[in-house]
Amino acid sequence: MTQLFHLWVYLETTPLLGLAATLCVWRLAMAITAWAGGHALAHPVPIAITILVVLLWATGTPYSAYFQGAQYIHFLLGPATVALAIPMHANLARIRASAGAIVPAILAGSVTAAVSAILIARLLGAPREIVLSLAPKSVTTPIAMGIAEQIGGNPSLAAVFVLLTGIVAGLIAVPVLRLIGVRDWRAIGLAAGTAGHGLATARILTMSETAGAFGGLAIGLNGVITAILVPLLATLLVK
């Protein structure tokens, strides 16, 4: 027992534990998602987070000790954000051909989502830190965390809000747009990518490849638009 304890103390001081736990739990979460038939509510990200939080809580491991190892995975968010330039470049001709419709649509959706999130949260009495972490929730996590940090929100909260938003957008995009008569896959894909980044796009992609392509386009473009607009909106709407 003492030996086991010494081993545990040793492992806690190395980054290996957090890294191995994240990767192994991720494999498990992927397996659970596959078993659930890829249902939107069975997304591997919330499953993996729940398992890891329970594990850390049960072993009494503080988040800082876990993050010592997990930071190597977290760091890759930066290069992955830069890598979004590749699919954007691959869609260059399509962006040019339909910029007249794509840019106003993303701009309108981006401002609507951010302003309504800020105003509703303020109206319901949420504190400043929560409001500022909600503002960039429609874009992909690395960008949203960067914006949240920059405007005085909380990057960890922003990451959670981004995940929840992506799941909601993936679930509602097709039914609510059908309800107002929009059946154009280009519009559905663009709406999913703008309001719900990669998580919503991944779900729409299983229904239509065209929607998936426009969703991918929206992730990159809305990331840039939001990074410029949300800090301005936050200064205007949050005192």
Partner: protein, 122 residues
Amino acid sequence: MLNAITLFVCCQFVGEVAARGLALPLPGPVVGLLLLFAGLTVVYRRGRDLPVALRTTAQSLLGNLSLLFVPAGVGVMTQLDVLSANLVAVAVSILLSTLAGVLVTGWVMWRLARTEDLPPAS
């Protein structure tokens, strides 16, 4: 693959330096994304494909993008008090604003794309 990773990391580094040095209202990686996009647009003009290694490395990074969200998401354990105290405000705000964002983006795209007669997407 190593060349592609080097390119991404260097773009991020230059983006980070530029964002902080010039006090830009953008996160460093987003500046890196814009720099790389601009660079690729200049170097690989119409009809010139990107190197295969660059595309496959981007694909493998972006294909596992969901995993990269996990470490930050686990940080929710440090925020449970704040979250549970504001559960209603957070849930209502996320549900309604996401609904509004989806409706507005989809509707504007649908109206404009119809009148502007876009080429077929696929």
